[in-house]
């Protein structure tokens, strides 16, 4: 069990659904085809950009989704090769050399976040831009968000900026009843 846990707070009241996070991540990690490591959904709606409610008072709101870097990550538990692992910094990541692309992680993840890289036949997932984070940079999606809707930090330290934000804004994980203890919190 890791003692440090990186985490993200996403303020959906700031999100305009532009998908700069999605596109920035996809380009910068050269994710092929129609896959992406994160996505955005229109809250309450089955179809992107379609509001709920009726004219003249429809409601339009968005929620970005990415790997939750769960404390009890089922993808890690169920990975048959050990390619998926929880790192010391709390990030759930893949050792690609070991991954066989079997898709068990997709089936295990209640949030459906890992994707298969069709070209490499390996799983891909968000690793909170670990390489960038380790040298003090922000994840691409955080740096790119024009609305500053994403805040990255450390939740294992109760005095961190992020921990305080979670407390004051009552940020909550998505569907906590899945019981995986996600590290992404929503306002």
């Amino acid at each position: 069990m890791s003692t440090k846990q990186y985490a993200m707070v996403i303020d959906t009241t700031r999100c305009v659904g532009c998908q700069t996070c999605v596109v920035g991540c996809k380009i910068n990690y050269q994710v092929p085809g129609n896959s992406s490591l994160c996505r955005v959904e229109t809250i309450g709606s089955k179809q992107m950009y379609k509001p709920t409610g009726t004219f003249p008072h429809p409601v339009l709101a968005f929620r970005p989704l990415l790997c939750n870097h769960c404390v009890d990550a089922p993808c890690v538990k169920n990975c048959p090769t050990g390619a998926m692992h929880k790192d010391a910094n709390g990030i759930v990541s893949i050792t690609r050399d070991v991954c066989i692309g079997c898709g068990t992680c997709i089936r295990s993840c209640p949030y459906g976040m890992p994707v298969l890289n069709q070209e490499k036949k390996k799983m891909e997932k968000c690793d909170f831009c670990m390489e960038r984070v380790e040298v003090g940079e922000k994840p691409y999606c955080v740096e790119a968000c024009p609305a500053e809707a994403r805040i990255f930090g450390v939740i294992s330290d109760p005095n961190s900026e992020l921990s305080r934000l979670v407390a004051t804004k009552h940020a909550k994980p998505l569907t906590p009843e899945y019981g995986t203890r996600p590290s992404v919190y929503y306002i």
């Binding site: 532009c18 409610g53 004219f55 339009l60 740096e143 790119a144």
Partner: protein
Amino acid sequence: MTKYIPGTSPDGRITRRWFLQGVGTIAVTYSAGAGGILSLTGPSAQAADDDKVKYIHSCCTVNCTSRCHLKGHVKGGRIVAVTPGRLPGRDDYPSACLRGMSYAQRLQDPKQRVLFPMKRVGERGEGKFEQISWDEAFDIIATKLKETREKHGPQAASFWTMSGNLAKLAWESTTRLGFTFGGTTYSSEGLMGDHGASMGMELVFGQQRGGHDTRDYMNSKLIILWGRNLADTHTSELRYIIKARENGAKVVVIDPRQCSSAAVADQWIPIRPQTDPALALGMINYMISRNLHDVAWLKANSCAPLLVRDDDGQYLRIDSAYAVWDEKSKKVVPVGTAGADPAIAGEYVGANGVKCHPSFVDLAREAAKYSIKTTADICGLEEAVVEQLAHEYATMKPAGIRMGQGMQRVYNAHTPFRAVATLAAVAGYIGVPGGGASHMGGTASINPIPGVTVPDFNFAEWANTGGKPRIQKSSSQFYNMAENGEIKFLWIAVSNLINQSPDANRVIKKVLPNIPFIVDVDPFWTWTGKYADLVLPGKTHWEVWDVLVRSPWVMLDQPAIPTMGESKSDCEICTEVAKRIGLESLWNKTDEQWVRTFLTSKHPAFAAFKWDNFVKEGIFARSDGIFDPVFSFKDQKYKTPTGKFEFYSEKLKRFDQQVPTYTRMLEDPKGERGRKYPLVCINYHDRLNVHSQHMLYSALKLVQSEPLVQINTTDARARGISDGARVRVFNDRGSCVLKAFVTEGIVPGTVGIANGWTPDQYIEGNNQNLTHLTLNPVEEAISQTNSAFYDVLVEIQNA
């Protein structure tokens, strides 16, 4: 999307034929051994051992208003990632949107690029081209220019640009070549549809731009995004609207579409298109009739007290001075008379028995036509919504309005900005913190240094046209000129002319066929390129030496990747042509030399400027820069004829538009034409693209892969149209076929197709088949007609 079919030519040499379906079908034949082809697939040999990431900066020069400083992550001769660049003095401001980041993908895709000089071999529009050498291309152009000059005079050669690249050399080279040749250039804002805003601003403020830094809305109680989908079209500013809202301001979006910005607003006001002036007048009337208008501000800073003659509607003058009625002395006195208390209501008699009245009387009388009920009826809103908006605007002081070009792509395009800005003036919100009626939100952001007269940039040599006059005509006249046979040669650069101009069928069938020779310079294959005789491979802002001035910053473009094919910058192409037509003395520098020359000023703001640092950082912040939020008209000085905020224009009296008025749209759904074509079709600007740029790359397909027509559920149901159905949108000018997006987020009676999608992305046709260019006499009298892209009626049926 793009098929690549290598083949063999009859002489056994390998040729490469590309079928570019990106713009309909284009078949281009590239000859073998073309040096650049090796660089098509990516890194050149020298780049292969360069697998460490290095950072090269650029300025995003597409015309979205933001002009972001970008940080390119370059590895092995390729841009592998793009992140926001730092803006010195503004740590809060780095920005790069999905468009700016994905642009780097597109420009490195050889299948999207024009790689070599290409000569048309089929019919115009057929899309058959073959590769020629640069020398041959330059010789053809030079010969055509000389022929045109000899037979028809130099003005018969036209040099057309739009806003495809806003960097100095890219944007201006073609125009400068036109000037130095003595040819005709165009003020493109009219045809492209941004000029109504400029005219509206000019009328009331005396300048075409101006407004509040978005950060200034931290001082606002209410923020109205009026026809401005800032989230998608000025993305770098979005965070400040959000902060202002979190600071307690109410954010209202006025738009026929529930646009992205509405997702972070407190209220969406679903206005019927083209009725914005009526809403503004209704709000003005609400304020005046409830005494909520700012009389003191109007008296001091606007034309409100200036007397207008009853007989001819011109301002009354005492000698050359404008006149007011002084309530204290009970007589007509020159404006500015010490101690005078000017009236803004009443009827008076001046010298020689001239009957007159303050100009505010005309405004109040015009506004009085717009009761809450009338306004609500015209705008398609609930009365309570209009009343609440008017009340909140008047009482939540101060309130700031950010205006957008969405509302001015209509017939009488000068009116929307004029009317909305007048509303802000009546409330006394112009030139005060947190207020304003802003266009773009940009404003001068340098402090002039007293006593410094040396220019800040050394543009003198670039500005030298060799003594030739700078001939610039209204772009609104371009179609007529071509159809009248006045254009014998046309050079198109930084413009996808057909895709971004109204009435594509007219352009293709009448305008372009009357132009004997057309050369198109573009980094990408476009719809316009298909109709050119020569298509020359241009470069993008990641491949050239260029500079963009965005005060208080100066930003640099520099080559980040090896040359794609044989592409050249616009300036390099113009320089080579200039050499062949006797203009070499005016075109005697490389692009890098020009950029270096521009930055050799002795202006003290550049004392710390060092070229090597500029190359490394890609940006320089002037020492005289203002980095705190600023706003226009703080000094209440206006460059209008009266020197005041001028809602009353005496020159528009002859059109009975001396004050802002609302007139029904040209294509009125309630008029005769509306019986056949009952739906208003707007052509909004979206998250995916700026005009026709950014289209077609894989990363963006994730967001949306094809054009859609947004239609309200009610309208769709009435026509049996279901979500995702193929539909034909049509009127008597043409049609297009695309899929329907059935939504509650658009005003009934209105449909919306995003601007910029090109014909190959449609199932059939293009939205510009529906639009029109109708010259407007008032706009022509002010300046030039603005394309009324949103003043278009259509009908829709399942296809």
